[in-house]
């Protein structure tokens, strides 16, 4: 019997719970159930046999937690436990059922919530998959983190050719613990090419029904439903519904359509499976036609391209001096703040481009994608001309992204489309090829068609190809605008593809560019533009999209439009701005006033003079108040942020000329290896930034070698380290030892050329001294004092 043979049945019956049966067997609790494969093989085999006798056609080998992380310290490895488990199941199956390698979550949270990286998770899964080579299929179950599940599915696809099934565990609110939505799960998993997807555990069949109903409306692959026997009692952990009720509920779930695989999770026994099989007798499977339009998603949020959606274009260094500087300085927070402001302004999707000749684009793209997904929920559009950059970013992306872009040139098609297929993304198709951009709408339409045809050959749905008919500068070629719009209209109506367009190029070289951009955007929307790529912070452009949605009847009752017009501005402060001096503005955290005053002062005073006679003294006064417990930490930070606004005004002014930016010295900050509590370090960063120091923030959970390498490469002599836990003080000590013993960081007499300051809740001055730190900083303010001492300013 093969998986394909099995698919010929109306329904495929899975087994019920392993854990419940083990509990019933009376074995003492506490031992890892997977080890029973080795110690009590006959018991495991018997449980499988009971399920097969009840009618199960697929049994899950007892391998749920048999991964390297959970087995650590057990004296056994996945490569011992898993083959034994598969053997036990195989013996019981004896040709009557298929054996599935059952893979559960690794058991620790992935970045950004936890510390496990994508690659670590992948390697644990790979070990399980290789060890389970004798199974017939691979089933991932009980996942709550979509990205962890993606690592697993990729490990399965890249290390075996078995069918892959994947189920997640949802709560009643339709989300997993990690926040994944039903739509995100379906879009992502079917994109990765699983054979079936669905739900298991956490809830009983009645509670799971609305979730299955949602899946049944959107999934393009068959569904798996494996509920618990009702809800558990919190203390006894027993379940509350009986086999016949369970079976009746599943019968009604099967009636939703698309449900092909059914079984039971916690609390179910062979009796439940028997009842289930009986209840589905006479019913036949049907696959629903997926409803709705093409959609993209992050791990938490799906965006259906059923109406114009704004793609924010600001994460891109082209023509932006500050952004380039941020990339060179590894200032991820700057990029994140660009993302947050675009989302607040109304972006539905964010384009991400970090291509700059002087940086490692691949490494930076992966870092930025991970960082963005840790703070914003919108889907991302991965923008690079390099296939290896796209590949790396698509791998770690949580959800279904857009790839920007492919074009009609064969070299591009054959490099980019396989990636789009493998990772289940959507793709932007640019209507140009080796001969450039065709002048006519006809020519561009032909390329669009070629791109769509090739995409289909690679197994990509035409719905997932978004065609960009390219905006040309109207001041250079006045008739080109009409050609673009005609091509757009034809692509939309004849190819049935969604369309996108970068808008602002249109007005290059003309006065009053905003006006031209705005009208062009409106014309394009009317021709069927779905995805305008714009600066969402430009209220006129975002407003045009919102107004269009009202006028074309998309925004019913104009409710979104009205909401966007009435969003309350942050409460304005009562202090009369006309009487405020710059230092008062800083002390009171009045950003708007501080900005205006700085701009005014720059007309009469030298930049450094403003910094030294106004900003720094004001910050010092606030710092002193904080030390005397006259103000709270958030107030100190607000003042510091206000000073930062002033510094930015000054920096922007200086970067117009050739003078170097204001910096009083470079400092490395890092939260040590193993520690992921980094809020303290981030507070220190904000303050140091605002006092005019340049901070190279290496983040959290940082390898000692990276800190040393950065200090050597960038010639940095002051290093700040934080650790919050007693368990991670050891890695602080190791880091300092490595700094001290690195020859490049030693003076000729062997003494250290680096100064190390340390901080963190569990640290004491004595301990800091013992592990070789130069300064112990009690709080963020003291780290600024230390920097002042070190740099002498």
């Amino acid at each position: 019997m093969t998986f394909n043979d099995l698919l010929k049945n109306e329904y495929i019956f899975l087994d019920g719970a392993m854990g419940t049966m083990l509990q019933k067997s009376g074995l003492p609790l506490g031992e890892m159930p997977e080890l029973l494969n080795l110690t009590h093989p006959e018991l495991i085999e018997d449980i499988h046999r009971q399920y097969i006798d009840a009618g199960a056609q697929v049994v899950y080998a007892n391998t749920f937690g048999a991964n390297g992380y959970k087995l650590e310290g057990s004296g056994h490895t996945a490569s011992e436990v898993i083959p034994a488990a598969v053997r036990n199941a195989r013996k019981a199956a004896d040709g009557r059922a298929l054996v599935a390698l059952d893979i559960g979550p690794i058991g620790q949270l992935m970045e950004p919530s936890g510390a496990m990286s994508f690659d670590e998770a992948y390697n644990y899964f790979k070990e399980e998959i290789v060890a389970g080579a004798d199974a017939d299929l691979i089933i991932f179950e009980t996942f709550t983190d979509l990205l962890e599940l993606k690592a697993g599915v990729l490990a399965a696809k890249e290390n075996s050719d078995k069918p892959v099934l994947a189920t997640m565990t949802f709560e009643q609110n339709g989300r997993t613990f990690a926040g994944a939505s039903v739509a995100s799960a379906a879009l992502t998993l079917q994109g990765l090419g699983v054979d079936a997807l669905g739900v298991n555990c956490s809830l009983g069949p009645d509670e799971l029904k609305p979730i299955v109903a949602e899946l049944a409306g959107i999934s393009r692959v068959p569904l798996i439903v494996k509920p618990n026997a009702g809800l558990p009692d919190p203390v006894t952990n027993t379940y509350d519904i009986l086999p016949d009720d369970f079976a009746a509920s599943l019968r009604s779930i099967a009636g939703l359509g698309s449900v092909k695989f059914v079984g039971g999770c916690c609390g179910t026994t062979p009796d439940y499976i028997r009842a289930l099989i009986k209840s589905l007798e006479g019913m036949s499977f049907r696959m629903n036609e997926p409803k709705g339009e093409t959609a993209v998603c992050s791990g938490t949020t799906a965006v259906e391209i059923s109406q114009p959606r704004i793609i924010g274009e600001r994460i891109n260094p082209t023509g932006k001096k500050l952004f380039k500087q941020a990339l060179v300085n590894n200032d991820i927070d700057y990029i994140l703040s660009q993302a947050i402001s675009q989302v607040k302004a109304g972006a539905d999707i964010l384009d991400v481009n970090v291509g700059l000749p002087e940086i490692d684009e691949k490494e930076m793209m992966v870092r930025v994608v991970k960082a963005l997904q840790s703070v914003v929920d919108v889907p991302l559009q991965i923008d690079s001309t390099k296939p290896d950059v796209l590949d790396a970013a698509l791998r770690v992306y949580n959800g279904k992204p857009i790839v920007n872009s492919v074009n009609g040139e064969e070299k591009s098609l054959s490099a980019v489309l396989p990636l789009v297929k493998k990772y289940g993304a959507s793709v932007i198709g640019l209507t140009l090829d080796e001969n450039g951009i065709p002048k006519t709408a006809e020519g561009r339409f032909a390329i669009a068609k070629r791109i769509v045809d090739r995409a289909v050959e690679y197994g990509i749905s035409p719905k997932d190809v978004y065609i960009d008919c390219l905006t040309l500068t109207v001041s250079a070629e006045q008739d080109a605008c009409r050609e673009t719009l005609t091509a757009l209209h034809r692509v939309k109506t004849e190819l049935g593809c969604k369309t996108c367009l970068g808008v602002s190029n249109i007005s290059f070289g003309l006065p009053d560019r905003e006006l031209i951009n705005h009208i062009f955007l409106t014309m394009a929307l009317e021709e069927g533009l779905d995805l305008p790529i714009i600066n969402p912070n430009d209220e006129l452009m975002t407003g045009a999209v919102r107004a269009y949605k009202v006028l074309s009847g998309i925004d019913r009752n104009a409710s979104e439009f009205i909401a966007s017009r009435t969003e309350t501005e942050p409460k304005q402060t009562k202090i009369q701005s006309s009487h405020v001096t710059l230092s008062e503005a800083v002390q009171n955290g009045l950003k708007g006033e501080a900005r205006a005053l700085t701009e005014k002062l720059l007309g009469t005073k030298d930049a450094m003079e403003i910094v030294n006679t106004e900003l720094i003294p004001a910050l010092d006064r606030v710092g002193a108040d904080f030390e005397k417990n006259k103000i709270f930490l958030p107030q100190l930070i607000q003042s510091a942020n206000t000073a930062q606004v002033c510094f930015e005004v000054i920096k922007a002014q200086l970067s117009k000329g050739d003078s170097s930016p204001v910096s009083k010295g470079k400092i490395i900050l890092a939260t040590v290896k193993g520690d992921i509590h980094d809020i303290g370090k981030n507070i220190v960063k904000v303050l140091l930034d605002n006092y005019g120091y340049t901070v190279v923030d290496l983040g959290r959970d940082v390898e000692p070698s990276l800190i040393v390498r950065t200090a050597v490469e960038q010639n940095i002599r002051l290093i700040g380290l934080s650790a919050l836990m007693t368990t991670t003080l050891g890695s602080m000590e190791e880091t300092i030892a490595l700094i001290r013993s690195t020859p490049e960081l030693q003076a000729e007499d062997g003494s250290s050329r680096c100064t190390v300051m340390v901080g963190g809740a569990v640290l004491t001055p004595e301990y800091a001294e013992r592990i070789g730190a130069d300064y112990y900083c009690r709080d963020a303010k003291e780290s600024v004092d230390t920097a002042k001492k070190f740099f002498g300013k």
């Binding site: 058991g107 496990m116 926040g179 703070v375 709270f632 992921i676 809020i679």
Partner: protein
């Protein structure tokens, strides 16, 4: 069990290190807006389970033995605010560090409030027993590495998505595990006190000449 509808303002200010400061309008509105955001982010989950600590390998070191002296069984508990709160604090750190500091403090307060609620529920479940206060891995000489054991006994990674990492840091971050002794004889609910506290040299309250009153 009741999910907190308010975050104690007094506790938040104490967490921020200073309750003697005169409040101004800006600080007030910062606190208000943070409370609203925080409450919206909460996806609290909890578990508890009665067991015999000596049979489950939970009696390591002197502190826990002393804490549980006179108790036969104990209740193991855990609570978490969920990943959404972590995400909120993370994104606030990029957008506005002042809010992040307030949110972080409020989230810690919310975690304690949730623990108090859960403790009350446990007390009601075992009316014939007297309860010790909540004792957590990391207190006194009780090894913090027991987090993994606590979580696996509660099946917390699977049931509520609460995990730990190699450094015994709980994830989601705003989470607590604890053990409460069940005694037939009345238990003196003495304060934990500064002597047994791991922060007794560095604590901001002691530096300011006060105590956290835990």
């Amino acid at each position: 069990m009741k999910i907190p509808e308010h975050i104690s303002r007094a506790e938040t200010l104490r967490c921020l290190g200073n309750s003697s400061v005169a409040m101004n309008d800006e600080m007030q509105s910062l606190l208000d807006s943070c409370e609203e955001k925080l409450l919206r982010s909460l996806r609290p989950k909890w578990l508890y389970k009665r067991l015999n600590p000596s049979e489950c390998g939970l009696l390591e070191g002197e502190s826990i033995r002393e804490h549980l002296s006179g108790c036969g069984d104990a209740v193991l508990m855990c609570v978490t605010l969920g990943t959404e709160t972590d995400r909120l604090i993370r994104s606030a750190q990029v957008e506005d560090m002042a809010s992040a500091v307030v949110l972080d403090a409020m989230a810690s307060v919310a975690t304690e409030q949730l623990c108090d609620e859960l403790e009350a529920e446990i007390a009601a479940k075992f009316p014939e027993k007297s309860l010790t206060w909540r004792f957590s891995p990391g207190y006194g000489d009780y090894p913090i590495s027991l987090q993994k054991t606590f979580l696996s006994l509660l099946d917390a990674p699977r049931r509520i998505g609460l995990c730990t990492n190699d450094s015994s840091i709980l994830t989601p971050m705003k989470s607590v595990t604890a053990i409460i002794g069940l005694s037939d004889a009345p238990v003196e609910r003495k304060r934990r006190g500064c002597a047994g506290c791991n922060l007794n040299k560095t604590c901001k309250f002691r530096k300011a000449g006060t105590r956290c009153d835990f």
